[in-house]
Symmetry: C2
Subunit: 106 residues, 2 copies
DNA sequence: TACATTGTTCGATGAACATCGACCATATCA
DNA sequence: TGATATGGTCGATGTTCATCGAACAATGTA
């Protein structure tokens, strides 16, 4: 594991409050990230490959929020940062919540 | 039905967006209202009987948000405004969401 | 009628947060 | 080595929204 990857602050869903989870999924850009992430296999999408109407600074902020909420796991692959949706863990902690997000139309 | 009751703007959960639902349950005061409401039978709690750390102006605002999100139904009984949690309707529209709120500690 | 209770509306205020541009760090490639 | 690509950090900005006090309306009660 690289030093960059090691420095990432992740939270496991079990240690996330309902408030933080709701705040995380309360933003439409973050929900778009989650839906796009759910449509492809784990560890295949870098942060920059998402189709989002915001600059990379904002994008980076949103990924940090998703990490802190236990929704996304990240790992560095060279210069790119790959993502994984923590679906089973998050589902166990907040049953039904992620399904609502993924079922939301576009 | 009184004129005051008639003038209340309710939304059925089916016509509520996920965004509005998440915004509604995203506030801790509103979640406290929902939990307190779930603990007593329908139409037995007036707005003023809830134990909340806000003034009545703020309280009134929160009830309006909950009405617009399809979470609470209201009816006037004299000078008091009684409430009902729209649990089955809301559950059908957003499965699992209300359960997360009601399961939240204190 | 006068008073108390219940709740809404209005305007103002303060805080939280999404957003941006600019700059920096690291990794890959020519 | 220099150039490009990917992504994070920082400070500033603007908007949204929860909150409040004050004024108002409607109901119930003495």
């Amino acid at each position: 594991m690289s030093a960059r990857t090691r420095s990432l602050t992740h939270a496991h869903p079990t240690e996330v409050s309902l408030q933080d989870a709701l705040d995380a999924v309360g933003d439409p850009v973050r929900r778009a990230i989650l839906r796009e992430l759910a449509g492809t296999p784990d560890w295949t999408r870098a942060c920059g490959t998402f189709d989002l109407p915001v600059t990379k600074a904002t994008r980076s902020h949103h990924f940090a929020v998703l990490r802190a909420a236990g929704l996304v796991e990240q790992r560095d692959e060279g210069a790119r940062r790959l993502n994984r949706l923590r679906r089973p863990e998050f589902d166990r902690r907040f049953p039904g919540l992620l399904a609502l997000v993924l079922a939301e139309p576009g």
